[in-house]
Symmetry: C2
Subunit: 243 residues, 2 copies
């Protein structure tokens, strides 16, 4: 394995071969969240191949060294393959690497999570992939026995989602183009699992200037509610305090 010491860098690189070394498997896995019927859902796929054939898992796969220029490209590509969605909120959560997490080999996975508005994709439907993809409520997903250590990955992603919901405006990514403040508050509450004070919530969101009012109203049976839309991109805007 030892190389002669008097090579130029060019010579060294030209004779370097990754396959000469013991390397781990490296994959990207994603927890893709959406709100459906007032519940937090996560997209799972049923594995077509070994290992864990037939079991539910987070969507993911190998980096395609040809197609992907960066690891974010891999994540975006996987998201597109599974949901047909191009570029919503996508964030790296953590990288988990362990000798035993994959029966095939020492394995590293880079975990992402994504938030998407279900209604923008439900119109298109989920783009077919070679695996069965299906939305599960978070509760269902947590009660399934998932492939690999995906149970743990799902928990990591969920707690990241919850904690960022407490000090950013992340859940706006789950909303359709126009939404009411009550609907937005609802999304926050579903993710967090507890209720928020209406006044405090509105003050917080409006004072931050991350959404702006439109001149449209939503008629939903009772009193009309004003519709809002996203003002600017920075959804990772941080509030000075958590809720």
């Amino acid at each position: 394995m030892k190389k002669p010491v008097d090579l130029t860098e060019k010579q060294y690189i030209s004779q370097y071969n990754v396959h000469d070394f013991d390397v781990p498997l490296t994959t990207v896995d994603m927890a893709i969240f959406a709100l459906i019927d007032q519940k937090l859902h996560v997209l799972l796929v049923q594995r077509n191949d070994h290992p864990f054939k037939g079991e539910w898992a987070l969507p993911g796969g190998f980096i395609d060294l040809k197609k992907d220029k960066t690891i974010n490209d891999t994540a975006h590509r996987k998201l597109l393959e599974k949901t047909g969605i191009h570029s919503p909120y996508l964030e790296q959560v953590q990288t988990i690497g362990q000798a035993k997490r994959d029966p095939r080999a020492w394995s590293v996975t880079i975990l992402y999570f994504a938030l998407i508005d279900y209604f923008t994709i439900s119109s298109k439907g989920i783009v077919p992939s070679n695996e069965q993809a299906q939305w599960h409520t978070l509760e269902q997903a947590q009660n399934l026995s998932l492939a690999f250590d995906h149970q743990q990955l799902l928990n990591l992603a969920t707690s990241r989602l919850r904690s960022k919901t407490r000090y950013t405006a992340l859940p706006i990514s789950l909303m359709p183009e126009y939404f009411t403040l009550t609907e937005l508050q609802n999304s926050f509450e579903i993710i967090l699992g507890y209720e928020l004070d209406k006044k405090a919530f509105r003050r917080r969101i409006l004072d931050a200037g991350i959404i702006k009012p439109t001149d449209m109203n939503k008629r939903s049976g009772k009193r009309d509610a004003q519709l809002f839309c996203i003002n600017q991109l920075p959804l990772d805007f941080q509030f000075p305090r958590a809720i």
Copy 2:
């Protein structure tokens, strides 16, 4: 590359070989910070081998599939090799994967940062490694041209350090066993690059209960100052607001 479809999982795994696939290089890199002479320093190594032979870089290297059970083991092992320190604060920052970041191959690196108390290692000295390791002030390091994309990695680690210093008590990891509140405040200020209000700082730290007073004083020429020590482990304790 396609396998027959009727294998059992056991058969599939037994014939699986990572080397049959195009895989990225996977490494761990670390930004190891310490305070020396009232300045934030980072440990750099001078590369012994291609690529970037002779240039300064963050310490790091390949996962050792034999020695390391997890990727955190790799990080701890690297830290031990470079500094002789066993288990201080060590946190994963981010994973960067790009086709071009390493001239040898598509490469993924998992970036960690560590905070150590310089005086606990200066007594031992830096354990020799096959590379020249040397402390640089952050300023020096940022003005060097570092190997690979290590300049960018260093910036990522630095901004993570700074931002966590604003809402956790992380810098306690940089302190010796016993320290005064003024010394602690000083460490915060050096990392942040701006001054803090004395009263507010003390109130914040003491009310959080993360350090406890001892019955010892420090005589430093002027008025004695009370010595404190760490109360509990959770240095990733989060304050409700940032400073």
